[in-house]
Symmetry: C2
Subunit: 371 residues, 2 copies
């Protein structure tokens, strides 16, 4: 079938949904692929490289008018006008954006939102949230290092010793773990915290220190141990003591990286204005929750600002700042997903009973299937 | 005596010649120190911190009008007008700038250019070229990582493996060695080259590969082995073959960091336009020789530009981008130098026979002593 890969038009979006590597595989499967001129330019993929991989390089209208369109971000109204009714769309379509999904349904698209894939073993290779969070965790540390006016590693020189940076990572998911690993590579001293005490082992395996908060009641201990392999939310008493411990570490930190995002909801406050005030002049906070309002109330999404002598980085699209590798992983996620709905060289087929496809399908035959 | 620390006024200069740490020591030695308001602001040193260290916070005129003035960069004409005749000045005064030094002599200053210190063991702790090159080498890698649209480390993810960045470092002095060490920390695969084959061991001890160029004549072998412990310049035949080997590695590189600076002369060309053309789209060159015209003819000093799909970073003051630690090391260099000319709480005394002081003294009693 004809697959289109348009150039992304959202502000600051540098990624592309297919790379010469994945285009080559789609062409080998018998598909035709049209890539919009300069679609991969910002991700270090030239039109020439797409051509060599077997793609035709064409216009936006050609790419958006294909039977199957591969996107990074949900199409805006102008892009949507170029789609054919009945076409298929794969992308990060924001499953919590009811209005946006309704527009896709109204356009008659069969739309798959990859963020909605279940977090199962089978779905791992198409897990866009993880692949992009991995990149974001790396870039968060590189941005912190850019703004921080000291070195990360300890350095012993003829003019004396420079101390290693003290980094605190709040929230230890995929992004937090990669932030820890990257800061560790650079020689920082790292402490990390999470509302799930069970991540302590992962944190320590990366060479960081977990900010321990002892359990004071049987209820706290039981919650931490979990039931049937699943963690339970920690009681409020423990969370309050944890916040106090975190506040002490933040006051001593040179760099704080916050990563607590709750899908579809505003980000929780982890670093209060008082905590920022307690920090040293020249410290840096990178707030990965900026797209959801931020883990710090002083964060300004999309901006880098200095408040109380502390630099707050509120970048809202960190993976786009590592466009080539972010695209490379995303395009592989897309390719792996396509194996489920593109059984041959023909069109998109919805398998009758596939939990991943069912979870991702947000619009079909004019109907909204989500939110 | 009264020591002044003005805020630096050169464009892009963020460093400061004394930190609260060194001010405290000068005050303990019985000196009065006047620090200009916000002199350390960009280097994460607040007026409050200077006050706590025992300094008075004052005006530019007060700091520049002191008996001894500590500077990072040579004073411009406007600053010079605030100096007292007979005052002393310590800074990076550019010993190759004859006109600039003449102006210092004309102003009746006793001026010490720290870059002119001999590279002896005793002078190591006041070696500003080394301390700042160390910072520059670190920052060069961080800038490369900022512009490079892929990750430095190899990453194994559910969506497949990401390859480590290939970094080539040309010129293995202090900056080159720190660039190698930093890129290695970040997980890159590194090759390095230098016109002195003897640095091979240092390169390998940091985990990088030295780009070997075999010796084909006894003359080449003798030059490499050196005489009496000193290396001799390598013959042209060997250098030509080295350039060919380097060109092959640059074509495969993701990041190239060039560091070849010859004091007082234009930088040698190490990366030609043809070599840039041979590089992959999205590659990055950081040219540490930008202040001397660059090791690549396409470098635009002070700018970051994209040519032939390659990003060329021509920052001319890398240490100023890590202002706090660059200032910290520089201020310690200055403090160590002052031990030679400030024997007590009284004024500056020129020791009759000190090779470091003699080398650094560029102007005294109206006379130019250099260039």
């Amino acid at each position: 079938m004809l697959i289109g890969v348009p150039r992304e038009t959202a502000a600051g979006e540098t990624r592309v949904a297919a790379t010469p590597e994945t285009v080559k595989k789609l062409v080998a499967q018998g598909h035709r692929v049209v890539v919009e001129t300069s679609a991969g330019q910002r991700a270090s993929a030239t039109d020439e490289a797409y051509g060599t991989a077997g793609a035709e390089v064409g216009s936006a209208a050609q790419a958006l008018g294909a039977e199957l369109v591969l996107k990074v971000r949900a199409p805006d109204a102008q892009e949507l006008a170029s789609f054919q009714r009945g076409a298929s769309l794969v992308g990060m379509l924001n499953p919590f954006d009811r209005d946006g999904l309704q527009r896709l349904a109204d356009a008659g698209l069969t739309a798959f939102a990859l963020e909605a894939a279940p977090r199962t073993t089978r779905a791992q290779s198409m897990d866009v949230l993880s692949s992009q969070a991995n990149i974001a965790g790396y870039k968060a540390v590189m941005l912190a290092a850019s703004h921080y006016q000291r070195l990360f590693p300890m350095l012993m020189t003829a003019a004396g010793t420079i101390k290693a940076a003290r980094v605190v990572v709040l929230g230890v998911g995929v992004a937090g773990l990669q932030a820890i690993a990257t800061a560790k590579r650079l020689g920082a001293v790292i402490e990390a915290s999470d509302v799930r005490p069970a991540v302590k082992e992962q944190v320590e395996s990366l060479g960081a220190k977990f900010i321990d908060v002892p359990y004071e009641t049987p209820e706290e201990r039981e919650a931490a141990e979990g039931v049937g392999g699943y963690a339970r939310p920690m009681p409020a008493s423990w969370l309050t003591r944890q916040q106090q411990e975190v506040a002490k570490r933040v006051a001593q930190a040179d760099v704080v990286i916050t990563t607590a995002l709750i899908p579809g909801r505003a980000a929780p406050v982890l670093v209060t204005e008082d905590m920022v005030r307690s920090m040293k002049a020249g410290s840096v906070i990178v707030d990965l929750a900026a797209p959801a309002g931020g883990n710090c109330p002083l964060t300004e999404p999309g901006q880098t600002v200095v408040k109380h002598g502390v630099t707050l980085v509120g970048e809202t699209n960190l993976p786009a700042l590592v466009a080539a590798d972010a695209s490379s992983l995303y395009a592989r996620n897309v390719l792996d997903f396509l194996k489920l709905v593109l059984p041959g060289a023909g069109g998109v087929v919805l398998p009758p009973d596939d939990d991943i496809v069912t979870a991702c399908l947000v619009a079909h035959e004019g109907r909204l299937l989500r939110a």
